[in-house]
């Protein structure tokens, strides 16, 4: 159900996300201090190459990581397997990738 390749993709994407997540949490704690507003968030992120790379990489890694994680959960709890399980994993990953990249573009372009 989970061979070496998927395992490696899962663990490598996790390692990539550890600094990204800690950074994201730090930004959240900083940004939430005086309440959130669209102007404040977008003022920080719009037109910034660094935030584009930061969150772009984040979305790539999380799509991979969550799709594989959901594959395991769905197999172990619902018993889905074989081709159906592969299709489910790819669809879950694509959904996260497409909605995620759209969000990154929306706040950084």
């Amino acid at each position: 159900m989970l061979g070496l390749r998927l395992y490696m993709a899962q663990r490598l994407s996790a390692m990539v996300m550890i600094p990204l997540t800690l950074g994201h949490i730090a930004v959240m704690i900083y940004a939430v201090q005086d309440g959130l507003s669209a102007a404040e968030i977008l003022g920080r992120t719009k037109g910034s190459d660094i935030w584009f790379i930061f969150y772009g990489l984040f979305v790539l890694a999380v799509s991979l990581h969550a799709a594989i994680g959901l594959r395991v959960v769905v197999h172990e709890t619902l018993g889905l397997k074989g081709r159906a399980l592969d299709v489910f994993m790819w669809l879950a990953g694509l959904l996260l990738l497409v909605t995620g990249l759209r969000a990154v573009l929306a706040v950084t372009l």
């Binding site: 996790a14 550890i18 959240m28 669209a38 994680g69 959901l70 909605t99 995620g100 759209r102 969000a103």
Partner: protein, 113 residues
């Protein structure tokens, strides 16, 4: 009710990692959907952020930050378990991961209110 063969700290840590991962995977598409309002409906993003000033929503946000933090610190523990030389202090590390997640989510909550 947790069955007898499962009632030990590392199994609870596993359950926490699975539930937090599942919760985050379900939350992310919603998170992305709302952020994408910035593209052509900035007024809807602002309306949503005003809704987030509600104290109940703050508590929910605390929950989300906790899910994220506990998954990250729990994941760090698993990476250490799998890739570093074996340590017999697995229960301590699992407890520390939960404690660190509470600390981080608590800090967020205190800044948010």
């Amino acid at each position: 009710m947790i069955r007898p063969h499962r009632s030990h700290p590392l199994w609870i840590a596993y359950l926490l990692h699975r539930l937090s991962g599942l919760g985050l995977a379900l939350f992310l598409p919603v998170h992305f959907y709302v952020l994408a309002f910035a593209l052509n409906q900035p007024e809807r993003l602002d309306a949503f952020l005003r809704f987030a000033d509600d104290p109940l929503v703050k508590v929910a946000e605390f929950g989300l930050v906790f899910l994220l933090a506990v998954h990250v610190f729990g994941g760090l523990r698993l990476l250490a378990l799998e890739f570093l030389p074996w340590s017999p202090r697995q229960k301590t590390m699992a407890a520390s991961a939960v404690a660190a997640a509470f600390l981080v989510a608590g800090t967020f909550f205190l800044q948010a209110v």
